[in-house]
Symmetry: C2
């Protein structure tokens, strides 16, 4: 495998950083190639602005159009171009982060906002009566796989089906489906650690073993079975799921899973 | 009303900025007080790091604990303290932003990550057999109201109940419930504009009229009926919704709504 790890925690001695380091050593030890984008260590610029698009920034700025023009012209900033190249190099992408306010830390959201430009992350492919661009299962990153490795401060019960925070699969759906599957990545079931606010060093060996087990079985892990957009399940152009495809009673985000 | 508008778009001539300007003039014209945190204009620091906690940053950094200590000691950075003061001043909070990758732009997520510190945004109140801290309907910001004003590039159909992006209410749930309701804000139904990628200036008068209508009726708008945590609907400490409280067949995020 060729794995890109995108890491988003400010403290090198944190649990998140330990999990990142363990992923590097475990994958390299198994003969895989690994590259790391340690966003804090890189002092990653988190914020989209006109400076991202160089001479292709218009005034007034139009983020989607200008980012696509700069992508096509090769005038995106070097930091963004480097990340796009890493994504094209990789066959597996791991995002390592703490769940802050039920979402990515800002620095990682800024990696998505800046790297997934028009014509790279979205606005790819043609529209017709049977296709609505290349997205949700097709796109620039098709043929690659992605995995979230996430730490959550609160206990697992709060993220269960009836838990007050909402089910973890639903909380992660906007990332899994909306960010990763959208440009074509297949998404593996996430590695989630709960209750990390109360974890101690004594808990780490079991955590490390579980994480290594996931890392060493990535190639045989089945991705989440999201429905592909352009293969008959959706009306075009409304992109409503066709009636009757879902199991009885299923609603919400779960509609977009097969079977 | 005393309204705080937190605005997150890099272009002063954008639709988002026009909606922010219109909110200021409309609310002030109706005799209300308004303050604006224009995050791009303020060059808002988006990224949590040790510098946020001054002398209370420990090594290794522990974000939750250190942010709480700095909050208690009054040693948070002036930019963060100013935002906390604005939130305490306001009775109504409007977040104005484009939906980028089904979530907030990084600069706004960084406002949440940095301003909603431990002992301000979370880690408030005592735990007992009948209470699990003050959150989800109680907390520092209780008694205030919040509203998202969001632009989405794609068409409304894609965000409908069967739409491929997922239902808008579910996509916004992590913000509505997990970020706003958590520290006590009551959340009004969002103002969402769809299809903004294809909007032209000709569309603006109708948009402006709809937005003004929402702004001038904020005080009489009913908030989303999220269930309060500590008032009998949830088991303590699992925080599972008690069996049988939901309408038949309801699952997922919708469990946490009354009736």
């Amino acid at each position: 495998m060729k794995t890109l790890i995108v890491h988003a925690h400010p403290e090198p001695k944190s649990l998140n950083s330990s999990l990142k380091d363990l992923a590097v050593s475990t994958l390299e030890g198994a003969g895989h190639q690994v590259r790391v984008s340690d966003l804090y260590a890189m002092n990653w610029k988190a914020v989209v602005d006109a400076a991202d698009y160089g001479p292709d920034a218009s005034s007034p700025l139009r983020v989607a159009r200008d980012s696509g023009r700069a992508f096509e012209a090769g005038t995106l900033t070097p930091d963004v171009r480097a990340e796009q190249q890493k994504l094209l190099w990789a066959d597996t992408v791991i995002l390592q982060f703490p769940l802050w306010w039920y979402a990515m830390p800002a620095i990682l959201k800024g990696w998505v906002d800046r790297v997934f430009t028009h014509h790279f992350g979205y606005g790819v492919g043609e529209h017709s009566d049977t296709r609505y661009g290349e997205r949700y299962g097709e796109g620039t990153l098709a043929g690659r796989r992605a995995l979230l490795s996430v730490t959550a401060g609160g206990p697992a019960a709060h993220y269960a089906a009836r838990g007050i925070n909402g089910p973890i699969d639903d909380l992660l759906f906007p990332i899994h489906h909306g960010i990763l599957y959208y440009p074509g990545l297949e998404v593996l079931p996430p590695f989630v650690l709960y209750g990390t606010d109360r974890m101690t060093e004594d808990d780490y060996p079991a955590v490390a073993e579980a994480w290594q087990q996931r890392l060493l079985t990535l190639e045989s892990t089945e991705p989440i079975a999201f429905r592909r957009q352009n293969f008959g399940d959706y009306e075009i152009p409304s992109l409503h799921l066709k009636e009757g495809l879902e199991p009885a009673g299923r609603t919400g985000f779960g509609l977009h899973l097969l079977g």
